[in-house]
Amino acid sequence: MMNRRTVIKAVATGGALIGAGVLMPRLAMAAWNTDAFKADNQGAAMKALLGAEPSASSDVSLKAPSIAENGAVVPVTVKTSATNVESISLFVEGNPTPLVAEFMIPAGTAPQISTRIRMGKTSVITAVVKADGKLMSASQETKVTIGGCGG
């Protein structure tokens, strides 16, 4: 059994290898949906990326802090019990451009992603899972505060 540290190292190494691949950036650019990533409101971003707005579903689990320790790097984890997952995307409604990331889930891959997102202010975070052509979501508000004044 791999321990946590080994897993993290393995993941980091894997990431570095992919990043070094010469073809990767061009492939990634080809899939880059400019309209969606540049949209300045969430509805438009969802439509541009996914074609429609999703419906809330208990099959999607979104984990994010209720109050961010640092708005610049808010840890977010999305999991789903759905099958045939094609993609998982993340939206922060209050950001100037709400679409934060889209993860393509290759067939046979566990549909779970963890990342850190940047948030300028308190906002609802929405995770959208695209599976079997359906759009399912989970949302949560994360508070971003200037801090201080603890008792």
Binding site: K9, T145, G147, C149, G151
Partner: protein, 588 residues
């Protein structure tokens, strides 16, 4: 030295006869032996203290006259003050208990009943409560905020309090201000602590794990930095105790001291842990020693099932009885035991066959005149203080009125701090954090540097002076007000409102963020303009370290010069939509 009950009662009687009790009326009404006479009940006794803020010696501490409950918290413990608190808990007015738990008639009652707390006095009480019950059936739990709040804790980086809690015999603790030292110092202090430091909700960051933090953390697989729980066998029962640190430590205090650790409430992890413990450890009761703050504890008790008792701290609420919260798993008792060494909670449990059948609870105020100092602890405290006496004892001014902090808005001592920042740093307005620690000075008492340190002593004391737009000032006030008045406890952070100097405002706590603060107006009557710049002075910045002098030196300079500690004007807001709120009394 351990005293029998009888010896203790005799000693108490002698104390009265020897004139240690200031007034005869007090002695006649309440025999001290009776006050500290706690009948034994059940088979497990949990003694609980929290938030002493390194107050080794007896002090004065006035409870708040403003502790507003908003939303579901309206009129509920702990958001009760004055008469409303007494009525809720069935406490007779004008008694020792009324003085201990409320702000009513504070000055005259404090003169009558004397100082509270002090580790040598707490130790005498704790020993008695252990001996009368059977030491092997008692635990002493400390909710944290123990290593910070005094000049000696600052100078020794919290180690003075590790020594004091070791001498007191604290079995288990958790923390919050403990994390305002560098993480290596925190680990060193925990190493020197004889009890167990528990926290289920502090995790290592992935970056730190990658860098090799697995060398010291408790459990690499879960990522927990500290041991999450412990099992104690006592009174024929197995008791699990889980630690819960202050979940907002990296937001409310500087994250830079503890870069590798991350905190949150993590109630799902807590639920998993409780379920695992119940399934695998064969326990009869599950207790959480928490630094969430009482509102968060109440909410957590609604969400998480299987916890019998939450012994809570952080919000400094001295609650005479637990709040009983019903949840999926039955019910959870939520306690909070005040601050500054003023109280010791006594929770006696009847635990049998995997279940808590019944309980008895007392929150005992520690009146220092009624409890003789434990000589060994008194000697330790003397030794700790000896190298710093010249600093601590400097006489700065005479208090011309009651000097206190606790309450949702500016106390008089806060105003002195805000006035000092404006005067010494030549600023138009000033800001001072709404901490809930800080002791009380009676009118006529000499204000020493130690009193100033009681209000200001932390590890990021540097002051600043800078230009701020009116809109920035409003943003700060709105943000802090939301941390205090957000109706969702999980979105609160537990401090009081930021203290201000040089301007007033109107506050409607019932409104959402962005709409609570209006009519910000300078003392000269000029309205604060969102687009205009103002010269602002403050201290205790959590982001980056500030450049200015330490706050206690700024306040020291101000008081030395002024010679009298008094205020010309209290910058408390005009409140809207809270008339009749049971968390408000004597507020004008």
């Amino acid at each position: 030295m351990s005293m029998t009950r009888r010896e203790f009662a005799q000693l108490m009687g002698l104390a009265g006869a020897a004139g240690m009790l200031p007034l005869q009326g007090f002695a006649a009404k309440k025999q001290p032996g009776e006050l500290y006479e706690v009948p034994n009940f059940g088979n497990v006794r949990l003694l609980h203290m929290t938030d002493c803020h390194a107050q080794l010696l007896p002090i004065y501490f006035r409870e708040p006259n403003v502790n507003l409950g908003i939303g579901n918290a309206y009129g509920q413990a702990p958001h009760l003050v004055g008469d409303k608190l007494l009525q809720h808990f069935g406490i007779q007015p004008n008694t020792l208990e009324a003085h201990a738990f409320s702000c009513l008639n504070y000055e005259s009652a404090a003169g009558k009943y004397g100082k509270v707390g002090g580790f040598a006095h707490i130790k005498t009480l704790v020993n008695r409560l252990r001996d009368s019950y059977g030491r092997e059936k008692t635990l002493l739990l400390d909710g944290g905020d123990t290593w910070q709040g005094s000049g000696t804790s600052y100078k020794t980086r919290g180690m003075d309090m590790v020594q004091a809690t070791n001498d007191l015999g604290v079995d288990i603790m958790t923390g919050h201000w403990e994390f305002t030292y560098h993480q290596e110092e925190v680990l060193k202090n925990i190493e020197a602590f004889n009890g167990e430091f528990l926290a289920q909700n502090v995790f290592i960051t992935e970056d730190a794990l990658f860098e090799g933090a697995d060398e010291y953390i408790f459990d690499e697989d879960s990522g927990r930095v500290f041991k999450p729980y412990t099992i104690r066998e006592m009174g024929g029962a197995r008791i699990a105790v889980i630690g819960q640190c202050f979940p907002r430590t990296k937001i409310a205090n500087p994250a830079r001291f503890i870069p590798d650790w991350t905190f949150d409430i993590y109630d799902e992890n807590l639920q998993e842990l409780v379920d695992e413990i119940r399934e695998n450890e064969g326990v009869d009761a599950v207790v959480v020693i928490s630094h969430n703050g009482m509102d968060v504890d109440l909410e957590m008790a609604r969400r998480v099932s299987g916890v019998d008792v939450i012994l809570g701290g952080h919000t400094h609420d001295g609650m005479p009885a637990p709040t009983i919260v019903k949840n999926n798993g039955g019910k959870t008792l939520v306690c909070n035991v005040g601050s500054n060494g003023k109280f010791v909670g006594v929770m006696d449990l009847d635990v049998r066959g995997g279940k808590v059948h019944d309980f008895r609870y007392r929150l005992l105020p520690v009146f220092s005149d009624l409890l003789p100092a434990d000589p060994q602890m008194a000697k330790l405290i003397d030794d700790i203080r000896a190298p710093h006496m010249a600093w601590l004892n400097e006489e700065l001014a005479v208090a011309d009125e009651l000097m206190f902090r606790r309450g949702n808005f500016n106390g008089t001592f806060d105003q002195v701090i805000c006035d000092a920042l404006r005067k010494v740093n030549d600023a138009q307005v000033s800001l001072s954090p709404g901490f809930r620690w800080g002791t009380t000075v009676l009118k006529g008492q000499t204000v020493t540097m130690e009193h100033v340190l009681d209000q200001t002593c932390l590890t990021y004391p540097e002051t600043y002076v800078r230009e701020m737009k009116g809109s920035e000032l409003k943003l700060i006030l709105e943000d802090v007000a939301d941390n205090l008045f957000n109706p969702d406890p999980y979105l609160q952070s537990g401090g009081d409102m930021v203290r201000v100097g040089g301007f007033d405002y109107v506050c409607d706590p019932t409104k959402p963020i962005g709409q609570r603060i209006t009519e910000m107006t300078l003392d000269n009557g000029e309205k604060i303009d969102a687009s205009k710049s103002y010269k602002v002075s403050g201290w205790a910045t959590v982001g980056a370290r500030s450049e200015g002098a330490d706050i206690w030196d700024v306040v020291g300079d101000y008081l030395r010069d002024r010679k009298v500690a008094s205020i010309d004007k209290l910058n408390t807001p005009k409140l809207k939509n809270v008339a009749g709120n049971p968390g408000l009394t004597e507020y004008s």
